[in-house]
Amino acid sequence: MKPRRRITLSRRIIQLACLILLVYGGYLFKGRLAGQEANVGEPPGTGGSLFPDLKAPKGAMSTTQFAPGSILWPSGATPVLENYPPTLVCRFNPKGGLFKACIVHFFSENFTWQTHLKYLLPHLTLFVLLCFLLGRFWCGWVCPIGSLGDLLSWLRRRMNVPVRRFPAGFRNALVFSSYGLLGATLGISTFIGLPNYSRFQCYWFLPYCQICPARLVCPVFGLIKPGWKDFTNGVSATFTLLAWLVLGLFVAAFYWGRRVWCHLCPVGLVNSWFNRGAGLELHKKAVKCNKCGYCADACPMGLTAMYEADTDRKYNQNGCIMCLRCLEVCPKDGCLSCRFFGRRVLESRY
């Protein structure tokens, strides 16, 4: 019997719509871009907006001093919305620019620029607000990289390649690695922002962005050639090789498993800190559960807490990407439900 809820179909439609909107949405607002360019060079906060433009301070080593063609060269497209909601499209998305960039890019860039806290506060507040409301919803429903991964998983199913289930220890190791990646990124970004070490900025600026799979993927979405052969010095060559290696791992991870990359993604990690307190909640009514295990099988993140639960509670786990696949496949009416601040929005129904 097929589930009566078509959540996955809705999710695919939303993923596709979001991919188009995020990557190419900037074209919808091209008329506004010229006006926004007018305040180039002004110090932050002079634009009269609650959300000040966060631009490199004058005199600081900024991306505009790098050579064209290098991955550090700015895209040239001004985002229509100069905000940083939870995890937005990449700096390497050159022709869209509806939003600005991801939160790791945001932190890295502004730590290096040593942007004053008061200018970061509006963006951080917006980020925390969205995470508080929706948790890791972005990862499951919007993230363009996640959508690409889902496409690879679909290809795997079409080719009848069996999915590999990775043990919990391996997934935990990935999460620890993502903490390491995030820590190293922020540490390096802060270090090269110190006045005595600014000479390293031309090599180490945005360290995570330089190895992120989006470096090679997002320009392709934007129909331009990615910076795939920056071998001009040792550091750039290392970053380029690492980027290719990470892209290979990314493709392999989505091919053999489901959403394996999402355990390692530092952007998802930052979002996951808010998951357990988020307004979007997953509830289980344990008395209705027959322990069929469908939810554990269907979970793309390989989480089993919902399946193992024996009490009626909220089960928002850090790794949950809110895809609601568990709710969709649950064969017991009303056993699993999705709520928004306690108000029931969806529940399992066969």
């Binding site: 180039v40 050579a67 064209p68 063609g69 290098s70 506060l121 307190g277 089960y315």
Partner: protein, 180 residues
Amino acid sequence: MKRILINAGILFLLCLSAAGASAAERLEISFTYPSFKGDFYASGLVAFPPGAVGDENQLKVVNAAGLEVATNVKVRETWFDGSLLSADITFAANSSRPDRYHLVYGGDTLRAKRLGETAVLPVSAFSVGGAARTVETMDMPVGQINVRVDRSPDIRYYWHLVPLTALLFLTVIRSRRTSR
């Protein structure tokens, strides 16, 4: 009616300046060669008068022999007629082979060589001799202009601390009620 007259005046001035800019302009590019011997990028922000450069392909950099040099042009701002107001222009040079470069724009100038995928190299900033006129002076009956000076920008941002702290506090409280 007043606005139509103003717009017509601006359009007229633009037409005049565009007509005046029909011949190609040639400006000398000056920069300091770095002390090392090797390739580097000369880069600079150049401003243009209204209507002079229709788009990024209507300008080029030539060397002393008159040969075009591959350039990367990034438009920074445009005039209200869509022509270039300012653009970042970058081209490759070599300090072991010093040369003289000129920026050519206007007329039927067409850029044929573009700087494509390139290496990360040191950048030397250049300036353009006889900088183009970028400010138009015109007398127009614009009426009263109200200028508001914001002298309290800090509070505009620091108040975000209140909702930020509240949201973080609520997140922690709600997390404690959630099963792991």
